[in-house]
């Protein structure tokens, strides 16, 4: 994806979208989430990289303390139907309903509607272009008012 060059002097009062990216559980594959982190950075967002081996509790605490607009979870371990519901539940308990949840990684087709049903905004599988993720975040953030421009 092409870097977008913006006039930095006009950017001072813009409030960038803040995204927490985390891997929950024991899966150690962090190449994909790092590529996404870099793409969102280059799209002008503030990416809080929480990294590997986060518990659902730790990921939710990070979102709360960082006052983030989005939480992106990457799962390649097959544990998504155990871990994602736990995160969604903890987010609700923490009154973080205004924060959108994204899931990326290896998610079987039949699980995607279930994840969306439980409150995940979108699931991005292998082959997703970075532009698609950026566009989704920008569009949805405008709607929810999370881009506080």
């Amino acid at each position: 994806m092409q870097n977008e060059r913006r006039d930095v002097s006009k950017m001072d009062n813009r409030q960038p979208i803040r995204v927490v990216l985390a891997k929950v559980g024991l899966d150690g594959h962090d190449r994909g989430i790092k590529v996404v982190a870099r793409a969102l950075r280059d799209a002008g967002m503030e990416v809080i990289y929480a990294g590997l081996w986060q518990t659902p509790e730790a990921a939710v605490r990070t979102v709360a303390d960082e006052d983030a607009d989005w939480l992106g979870l990457s799962l390649l371990s097959g544990a998504h139907m155990t871990l994602v519901p736990r995160v969604v539940e903890l987010m609700r308990k923490a009154k973080l309903d205004h924060v959108g949840i994204l899931v990326g990684g290896i998610i079987p087709e039949e699980d995607i509607p279930k994840l969306v049903q439980m409150g995940v905004a979108r699931v991005f599988g292998p082959g997703t272009s970075m532009a698609e993720i950026v566009t989704f975040l920008r569009d949805k953030s405008k709607k929810s008012g999370a881009v506080r421009a």
Binding site: R6, V8, V47
Partner: protein, 242 residues
């Protein structure tokens, strides 16, 4: 909206603190409101950790957090990382190196993007520090962006400035230069398990010995094997109480 947030804040609502910090970081919380907040009941300490990128600031703060918590002091970290001069985006990767302690309300970490040309610091830090103190955090740690020789503005924010150096950085002329070394209260030779730590310590001590007035202390610390961390915290407390 600000008033209701402040009410929640006074009631100890962590989410209100988080939101107010965001507003303060944008300069949206007026000083008059900050001044109405309750004064901290206990003594507070603002510690700045600075040094070049990759010297181990985040890792060392991660090591200090459990030690500070053992003393039952609340600790908040304001961790700055650079904002892109091209896109305004940022990859904030400091808390990644700090322990995730979601069950401990005595630890709060906020990642901040610092604009280019801001001396390695995010904007509006004093207001954020004031909020964290008023919320009850008795220790506030500021982590600068990887700092260069001239990034001395941190001095005015903190009670104590800790400068991290690593082995094999600079010869003796390097340490004669004006700037960051002059504003440090404490110099840590970090990664002291690596070869050359003693030599770097000796050179820095020599130079600091020549300066007039208060002399910065020099300590060797190694976060990887975890050596010298409790001693560092003791020294920080002892130095700041003078």
């Amino acid at each position: 909206m600000l008033e209701s947030l402040l009410d929640k804040f006074r009631g100890g609502d962590r989410q209100a603190l988080s939101r107010l910090l965001s507003m303060a970081s944008r300069g949206e919380v007026p000083d008059s409101l900050l001044d109405q907040l309750a004064k901290p009941t206990q003594q507070s300490l603002v510690v700045a950790i600075t040094g070049s990128g990759g010297v181990g600031k985040s890792t060392l703060i991660g090591r200090l957090i459990p030690i500070i918590r053992k003393e039952n002091q609340g600790v908040a970290v304001l961790a700055c990382d650079p904002k892109s001069p091209l896109t305004g985006g940022a990859l904030l990767g400091d808390r990644f190196r700090m322990p995730a302690l979601p069950e401990d309300d005595g630890v709060f970490i906020r990642s901040l993007a610092a604009a280019p040309g801001q001396a390695s610091l995010a904007a509006n830090l004093p207001a954020m520090i004031q909020l964290l103190k008023a919320f009850g955090f008795s220790v506030v740690v500021i982590e600068t962006v990887g700092a260069g020789q001239g990034d001395t503005a941190v001095r005015s924010l903190a009670d104590i400035v800790v400068l991290l150096l690593q082995p094999e950085t600079g010869d003796d002329l390097q340490w004669e230069k004006a700037g960051l070394l002059e504003v440090a209260d404490l110099v840590v030779i970090h990664k002291a398990d690596l070869p050359g730590a003693e030599g770097t310590e000796a050179r820095v001590r020599d130079i600091l010995g020549l300066s007039a007035g208060k002399k910065a202390k020099v300590l060797r610390v190694s976060s990887k094997p975890g050596q010298g961390i409790p001693e560092l915290w003791q020294t920080i407390q002892a130095t700041s109480s003078h």
